[in-house]
């Protein structure tokens, strides 16, 4: 319950939420107190006063029949809002229980209910309401029941959707296992989840119901003299040439009420989303990747000196003897990163640094592993090199040269020219990195035509050749397939083919095998190694898997909390780790996992 009061408080702190809540409350109160606020009869008319302006006791003046506008506005609100409440009640009564049943149990009831809902939604509400008047007479209250029936699908669909997705959640399973009966589970767990969306939907549907109700009244469907906002607008519209100002007050009342309802719904949604960001949702993984490196800001402070003393003294140690250590000062021609720092703009303003001064070199024909746990800044470093940092992120310090050219501060257009044909990228998740709307072939052909300025036929030929090179058995079939028609391993091969398509010199591979199963992993790694050898590529391999490092990499850089804590040849780092973090990483990963995994046979077959 405290969670709920929290939401209410957040809602009231939201400026729009507060204003619309106050406006709504004022309107409802005024309408309820109509007899007190205005003791006149809403139908009392004196033709002498017709179109009369404001006067004492009649602050809003008179309408075309000489009736007091304020009085009619207040009583009209009763009918208009009352009608909407009836429609809403009917819609809730029909929509929510049926949605719960259909979502929770599925089966024939679900199918039947969906069929009915689709039928109702195919009916234009206004036509049905007008036709209903022929059957049910001109009593507006009865028509509002029909309206409730027509808007019930809004609740049914909402509730059914949420319940169906919640039904299979673990905590519902747990409740089932622990012997709770269905009605209790629904009451305790499921209703809790649908409550907030229903409240938002109530605000939206009330707005729609009020609009439709007023529309009906405006068409003159209502019964004679009953004052409603719609009927008042109708009367004003008839006199639009003579007294257009008559439209002002009922129009304002109607507009304010509907507007306040929609804004309230929007504010409610914001307030609930505010609350929803705290616990990890489904999208938290992506958010974690950009925001999480920022999280250990506090613990990073004590870690910093440690990594510094573990990192810098090594300059003089045997590590530099092999001449590969970046600290030696000379910069590799292919890729050289010095003191790279990446920062993100925070939602509340200000920035947060997530990569703090990384040094890294990759030479032609060399595979360098960038190792570290998730959130250590590996991917941010890789994205900086490619110039594809997500929104809000930027390189705030340091230097990155690719093929001898400085890319920090380089205009986007020139940097774009380097991507694809100097430096290429192999992503982590094969499936989500192919555009689902285009065939595999067209996704290979498009960048080649653009970057290499070759003809379509030539690009197609090259694409088929590439698919063959990445060991795809039936290149023609895969060329014409959509991404959802091929397997994950196949998709990763396609992405590797795409990366190779413009003959890059440097490949940045971000966990290229993490999303694949073991056998396929081995095949893809073998493929990467073969291509690297054949083409003399420099590769920056981002990974958390030390087994992969042991097999592929010439050199390794170990990254933690945005810093490189250890670099050296793969052999040195894996056999004689210096930094405690590397030791911990090795201890955690290599226990019981064969460094040369089951992929050796396929590797042999490849080479």
């Amino acid at each position: 319950m405290s969670e709920r009061t929290g939401t209410v408080r957040r809602l009231l702190r939201h400026p729009l939420g507060l204003v619309s809540a106050v406006v709504l409350a004022a309107i409802v109160l005024a309408v309820l107190l109509a007899p007190v606020l205005s003791p006149q009869d809403p139908n009392a008319s004196s033709l002498r006063d017709a179109f009369g302006g404001p006067s004492a006791g009649h602050p809003l003046g008179f309408d075309s029949a000489g009736r007091d506008i304020l009085t009619r506005l207040l009583y009209g609100g009763r009918n208009t809002l009352g009608g909407a409440v009836i429609a809403l009640a009917v819609a809730l009564l029909l929509g929510v229980p049926s949605g719960l049943l259909a979502g929770y149990y599925g089966g024939w009831f679900d199918s039947a209910a969906n069929w009915v809902v689709n039928l109702v939604m195919a009916l234009p509400a206004m036509v049905v309401l007008l036709a209903s008047r022929a059957i049910l007479g001109s009593t507006v209250w009865v028509l509002m029941v029909v309206l409730g029936f027509l808007v019930a699908p809004a609740f049914f669909r909402l509730v059914r959707g949420i319940v169906a997705s919640v039904r299979n959640e673990l905590y519902v399973d747990a409740a089932k296992v622990s012997g709770l009966r269905d009605p209790r589970i629904v009451a305790r767990h499921v209703l809790l989840v649908v409550r907030a969306p229903i409240i938002i939907q109530v605000a939206l549907v009330s707005g729609i119901a009020i609009g439709l109700q007023a529309g009906l009244e405006f068409l003159g469907v209502g019964s004679g003299d009953t004052p409603t906002w719609g009927a008042m607008l109708n009367e004003a519209f008839k006199n639009i040439q003579r007294a257009p100002s008559l439209m002002l007050w009922p129009g304002l009342a109607l507009g304010l009420t509907s507007g306040a309802l929609v804004l309230l719904a929007a504010a409610l949604r914001d307030a609930l989303e505010d609350r929803g960001t705290a616990p990890a949702g489904r999208r938290s993984r992506r958010r974690a990747r950009t925001a999480a490196p920022a999280a250990p800001a506090a613990p990073a402070a004590p870690a910093a000196p440690r990594s510094a003393d573990a990192g810098t003294p090594r300059t003089g140690t045997p590590r530099s003897a092999d001449g590969t250590s970046p600290e030696a000062g000379e910069r590799a021609e292919l890729l050289s990163v010095r003191d790279l720092a990446v920062s993100y703009v925070l939602p509340g303003g200000g920035t947060r640094e997530v990569v703090h001064g990384v040094d890294l070199d990759v030479r032609a024909g060399e595979i360098v592993g960038l190792v570290g746990e998730s959130g250590s800044g590996k991917t941010q470093t890789a994205f900086s090199i490619l110039g594809i940092l997500p929104e809000g992120g930027r390189v705030c310090r340091g230097s990155v040269t690719v093929g001898g050219e400085e890319i920090v501060g380089m205009p986007e257009r020139r940097h774009r020219a380097l991507r694809g044909d100097v430096v290429a990228y192999v992503p982590q998740e094969p499936m989500s990195n192919l555009d689902p709307a285009f065939t595999v072939g067209s996704q290979l052909v498009e960048p080649m035509r653009h970057k290499l300025r070759i003809s379509r036929a030539e690009a197609v030929r090259r694409a088929l050749d590439l698919l063959d090179q990445v060991e795809i058995a039936d290149p023609r079939r895969v060329f014409g397939s959509y991404p959802h028609e091929i397997s994950g391993g196949m998709a990763q091969r396609v992405l590797i083919a795409g990366a190779m398509s413009c003959d890059p010199r440097l490949l940045v591979a971000d966990e290229p095998t993490t999303a694949l199963d073991v056998v396929v992993q081995a095949e893809v790694l073998g493929l990467l190694r073969r291509l690297q050898k054949e083409r003399g590529l420099g590769v920056l391999l981002v990974t958390h898997n030390l087994g992969v490092v042991a097999d592929l990499c010439d050199r390794v850089a170990v990254m933690r909390e945005g810093r490189i804590v250890e670099t050296g040849t793969a052999e040195q780092v894996l056999h004689a780790p210096r930094h405690p973090y590397t030791q911990k990483l090795l201890g955690a990963v290599l226990d019981g996992v064969p460094a040369r995994g089951p992929w050796q046979p396929s590797n042999a077959e490849v080479v």
């Binding site: 195919a122 007008l130 068409l219 607008l233 257009p244 929609v262 694809g420 992503p427 555009d435 709307a437």
Partner: protein, 313 residues
């Protein structure tokens, strides 16, 4: 593809049949003595009975329905009880008016919402805030209230356009344009608000997808990524919303045609339905539902074309 259309058409036919049966039965509940209403209180009972028999109203409701159905499937919706008009012809005369509105609104909505939505979703910032405010306002205000304000400003005050009346497209193009502009504008505001919001949302979603990053990493220029890849992936949900807008557009047309005095299907609905003129009501309901079914079919085919995963073999 063909079998998909065939299946959907069959499902649509079933839907039409069920709706027609229910409507006919429901409409027959109030026991209206049509003959008496037509001939007045002074007419003798014999004359009234004869009139009712001539209209076929002396038979059981189900027999009346089957008779109606047998004619309706051949496109003959009978004659209006009260005006004696041929219903099919009356609707055919009024259809161009309503179609002008619908086609106009759909075009305006599609073009404007995609422009605004893509612009807002890609650029963010000020234009994004504008689109969002516009969406809330456009959604919040009841359509006919917006229409009234438009009439007040552009027809009554500024006198740029006529407040009332319709000129056929075949008579005079400029005349048609001037009578149709305000109604189309009035109907478009709500649907542009709804659809542009959807386009904006899905553009933002798609821009965050991994494959967009990978396309950037391949060195493709941003405009090419937006117009080829983002737009295509963001269109499917937007089209679905556009399809749903069509249903509420039918209701909006009723009010807008009434306000602007347009002789379309919408104003016909107001004038005939309230009197319980079953042949006319039935025809109107059938036409609306057919419209909805056809639009949904078109939307589904387009979505399938845009999104291969949703494509039906």
């Amino acid at each position: 593809m063909l079998s998909f259309i065939a299946r959907r058409t069959a499902a649509g036919a079933v839907l039409l049949f069920v709706i027609s049966l229910l409507s006919y039965l429901l409409l027959s509940i109030p026991d209206v003595d049509v003959g008496r209403q037509l001939l007045g209180q002074g007419a003798s009972q014999d004359l009234v009975d004869a009139r009712n028999a001539a209209l076929g109203l002396d038979r059981p409701v189900l027999a009346q329905y089957l008779d109606w159905l047998a004619h309706a499937v051949r496109g003959d919706f009978g004659t209006s009880w009260f005006s004696g008009e041929n219903v099919t012809r009356a609707i055919a005369n009024r259809l161009p008016v309503t179609l002008s509105l619908m086609v106009g609104v759909t075009l305006v909505t599609a073009v404007l919402s995609f422009l605004l939505g893509v612009w807002a979703g890609v650029r963010r910032g000020a234009i994004d805030r504008f689109v969002q405010v516009f969406a809330v306002v456009g959604y919040a205000l009841p359509g006919f209230l917006v229409t009234l304000v438009i009439v007040l400003v552009f027809a009554v005050h500024l006198r740029w356009f006529p407040a009332i009346g319709y000129v056929g497209l075949t008579e005079s193009f400029t005349g048609w344009l001037s009578t149709v502009t305000l109604p189309v504008a009035a109907l478009s505001i709500g649907s542009v608000a709804g659809v542009s919001q959807q386009v904006r949302g899905s553009v933002i979603d798609v821009m965050r997808q991994d494959y967009v990053r990978t396309l950037r990493a391949r060195g493709l220029p941003p405009w090419r990524i937006v117009f080829r890849h983002v737009l295509r992936n963001a269109s499917a949900p937007a089209l679905a919303v556009l399809g749903m807008q069509f249903v509420s557009m039918l209701g909006g047309a009723v009010l807008v045609e009434q306000i602007f005095g347009l002789p379309g299907i919408g104003s016909m609905t107001v004038n005939y339905t309230t009197r319980g003129d079953i042949p006319v009501i039935m025809a109107l309901v059938m036409f609306s539902v057919i419209g909805v079914i056809v639009i949904n079919l078109i939307v589904d085919i387009l979505i399938g074309w845009l999104n291969p995963k949703a494509r039906i073999a």
